[in-house]
Symmetry: C2
Subunit: 106 residues, 2 copies
C-alpha cells in the first residue's frame, strides 16, 4: 500500500484545464465532465477537480483489508464508486486530503 | 513528455509528515532535511515541502529540448539542481505550479 494512484488538483474550468494538459503535455483524457476530468500522465493519473465539488487530494492504492482497517480507525463509512472502486478520505497532519482507493482486483 | 515525476504537497513539520507517510503507507525516504522530504511511493515520488520554502506543485518529466522550448516560451531561466536535474516552474491556468523537470539521461 505504497503506490500513489492519482493526484487531484483544483481547476475552475475543466475544459480549459484539459486543453492545457493535453496540448502542452500530451495528457490522455480518460474521463471528463463539467465538474472533473481524469487524465493519464505516464505512471499515474492527474485529476482536475472543481474545488467546490471535489477536494484536491493525493490518492493511494490499498487492498480491501487495508481499506477496512483505515475505515475502522477513522470511524467512517467506505464509499462505493460507480467504476467499481471503493475508497475513503482521510487527512494528513497538515490537512492535506488523502484518498485511500481500492480497485476490485486488489 | 507526459509522465508525472512527482507531486509536492505542503507540510509544516517535515519530520511529522515523513513519519505519517512512512508508518501508514510504507513510503521510502529518499531525502529529508528540515525544509522538505522526498518519498518514493510506488511509481512516483511524493515531496513534502515547507510552503514558505518550496511551492507545492506537480512535476512533469521533459527532455532537454522541451525544457529549452518551455523556457523560451516563459522567458525564464532554467534552474540547475544539485542532483544534476534541470527544471523550470510554470503555472497552469488556475495558478497551480507545474515543474518541468529534465533528468540528465533524457
Amino acid at each position: 500500500m505504497t503506490d500513489i494512484d492519482h493526484v487531484a488538483i483544483p481547476a475552475t474550468d475543466i475544459g480549459a484545464g484539459v486543453e492545457f494538459y493535453r496540448s502542452r503535455f500530451g495528457a490522455k483524457v480518460l474521463y471528463q465532465d463539467s465538474t472533473w476530468a481524469f487524465l493519464q500522465m505516464g505512471p499515474i493519473k492527474l485529476a482536475l477537480v472543481t474545488p467546490t465539488q471535489h477536494p484536491p487530494h493525493v490518492a493511494i492504492r490499498v487492498t480491501a483489508e487495508e481499506l477496512e482497517e483505515f475505515a475502522r480507525e477513522a470511524n467512517k463509512p467506505i464509499d462505493k464508486h460507480r467504476d467499481g472502486t471503493t475508497g475513503l478520505y482521510i487527512h494528513d497532519p497538515f490537512g492535506n486530503a488523502v484518498e485511500l482507493i481500492c480497485y476490485p482486483e486488489s
